[in-house]
Symmetry: C2
Subunit: 408 residues, 2 copies
């Protein structure tokens, strides 16, 4: 199967009133820059990068530029040594200058890389999670670019880590029967009224969710405290409640407010400050323990993840495969996190479509803990095969590919 | 003087054979994404962001989008509280998602911000360095955005730092007579033959330069060693020689090769590994002391600079005002570096045009050490007022503005 042409799509989706809002992105439009790999068959590889509306056209243009060299390549040959292709893409000299490995050009890479894995899985007629589980450790590592990680994770160490974990894979296959637990982010958007939060929380509990997220980061911390108390009272003491500040606070503010929010016994505080601030997160993590710090949705690449892990500045790694350099860099960062014994709980710019596959592989293949995956329902109607959540659990996808196909 | 319209230009410049080449960017084209602020007078504010050819069009589009809100603003009113405008620009929600504060959209911000300072200086009919020296500490800090730095540098601390330094400014005015020493990067580009390096080194010495830079990062470290030895032998023991690997090595490689390159007594090793790698640079700096580590040309924003400074991971801070958020963020990072007692020796994506002003202010106004400023001559003929180097010293520019005007 040969890639015959590239198509790039700029897809934007308006959201229901107040949905998607957080302290920093107060009135978002959800959008995807989409890379479509056409082939000499009827199959197409679809790759997504998640954006917030304006600017998606920049990512689309970067996809067009960077993806050209894929035309004419046979998919099995391409993926047999995809790490090398990945590195040649990220090191495209003039575009590398615009990063490196961050911002618009790296989002474009995410879409391209995701399209390659999607096409690979479709060509083998298996869902992405199964494609990944079918690869040997060497074959999997061949799809990764471990450059700049050699001080922490060499190719040999990555293969050894997987080889060790593959010995006990059978013990973790039960997740293929139970499905993977989800948590609901859509109960507590920033612009929601108190009444709506209560209503949505009750609905989520009725649907079987036991873990919920609330957006904080209000100009008045008392608003955060009031809403956090409200969701705790509504959901009960047994519920798992996460708080998400979306980068709103500086470090002194975060230290102050996180301590006060501890009163509702949160499971984690997410993005308490600027996503680049390794030492800021480290200081906050130390100060608010035993409450945990989660971050990663805006960390652009493996090198900065390496720094966060080295500094013990994140308790949960929220890498997002539609932000970093696609599934390849997601897996690289997951390996790194495994080495540091930090759980990977992805942010789902893809609405969980791709990540429902990746957490299955991370658990079975890599030995990551079976925790829960974010669920955001707002784009369900736009996907050909939307994630199927039953009683709060993502059901294991059976369709070939990465579940990224969008309706026209 | 009111900003009446925005014009955006995509300017690209081919270089003489081999010039500009480094281990990572092997065949560069130099380019500027240019923001032009038209006014109700004949004056125009010109702001540059430096790029390497392909992709400049993305930065140009981002300039167009982000700069719209400047139209209709009066320049003195705008700059009286520019820090607020800066923050509203960097936090433009959909564009913020594409970074935040890095990559294409942040390069666009650089061009916009630089155009504002350029217009401000022109409107007051003074060169940029004088404009900055004429501001009170409060007025200067009002043009900055110190958000996310509060754990290290508050507004009050920034004003106090400047107030203290202003007391001893007179002692440092002598630089306005001597000019500011330059160093020559154009002797040792990566693709230059050994013969050409010897020839260019001799020419630079004849022109009065005593500090020179050589590109390293060859696939074969012996090539680096041979060339480094050659330039040392040609320039003599008294010359200051800097080595620049342009991010080519991983950390173990850097540790090995930097130790061997110590044999030529380099003044610094520049960008020994990935520019995001705080702990990588920290490990290298500790290992190669007393040789120094310089980095910063690819560090996108103040938060990552803060982390590098906190970790003592850079001995020299090479912030570039055409990479970070323009002159405003350059000054912010210079204040932060001053607090940590780290010298600022800018990378000159602007070919030194803007930075010749900024190092004068950094020395006189901020008390930074009077060291030397990079000089790259290849775009001289394109500037209306190219930097004037006499006997190895940048002569103090007298024309109003930031010396950013390009010939049509």
């Amino acid at each position: 199967m040969v890639i015959s042409a590239i198509q790039v799509l700029d897809r934007r989706f308006d959201l229901p009133n107040g949905s998607g809002s957080d302290a920093t992105h107060t009135n978002p439009q959800y959008a995807y820059a989409v890379c479509v790999l056409k082939t000499d068959t009827s199959l197409e590889g679809i790759g997504l990068a998640f954006t917030l509306g304006a600017g998606t056209e920049l990512v689309c243009q970067a996809i067009q530029f960077l993806s050209e060299k894929l035309v004419g390549q046979e998919i099995e040959a391409l993926m047999a040594n995809f790490g090398t292709t990945y590195r040649s893409l990220v090191d495209s000299p003039s575009y590398r200058w615009l990063g490196p490995h961050k911002g618009v050009v790296h989002l474009a890479l995410a879409a391209i890389v995701n399209a390659c894995y999607d096409l690979w899985a479709k060509s083998r007629q298996v869902p992405l999670w199964k494609l990944l589980l079918d690869l040997s450790p060497e074959e999997l590592v061949n799809t990764l670019d471990l450059s700049y990680l050699e001080d922490e994770l060499t190719r040999e160490q990555a293969i050894q880590l997987l080889t060790e974990q593959y010995k006990t894979r059978e013990n973790r296959n039960s997740v293929l029967t139970t499905g993977y637990k989800g948590y609901d982010t859509s109960v507590g958007w920033f612009n929601f009224s108190d009444e709506l939060i209560v209503e949505k929380t009750k609905q989520a509990l009725d649907k079987g969710f036991t873990a919920l997220k609330l957006k904080v980061g209000s100009d008045d911390p008392l608003r955060d405290l009031r809403r956090a108390t409200l969701i705790r009272q509504t959901a009960g003491e047994a519920a798992t409640i996460m708080l998400d500040a979306n980068q709103k606070w500086n470090v002194p503010q975060a230290l102050d407010i996180c301590r006060r929010l501890g009163s509702i016994n949160p499971y984690w505080i997410e993005e308490p400050t600027h996503p680049d601030d390794v030492f800021g997160h480290q200081a906050i993590a130390r100060a608010i323990a035993p409450f945990k710090v989660a971050t990663g949705e805006h960390i652009p690449n493996k090198v900065i993840f390496k720094n966060f892990l080295q500094a013990k500045a994140m308790d949960f790694c929220q890498v997002d495969a539609v932000r970093v350099g696609g599934i390849s860099e997601f897996l690289t960062i997951s390996l790194l996190a495994k080495k540091f014994n930090i759980p990977v709980l992805p942010h789902v710019g893809d609405m969980g479509q791709i990540h429902q596959h990746l957490v299955l592989f991370n658990h079975i293949g890599m030995g990551h803990e079976n925790l829960f995956l974010e669920h955001i329902p707002h784009l369900r109607s736009y996907f050909v095969h939307p994630a199927n959540i039953v009683e709060g659990y993502y059901q294991v996808p059976q369709e070939a590919g990465s579940s990224s196909d969008l309706k026209p």
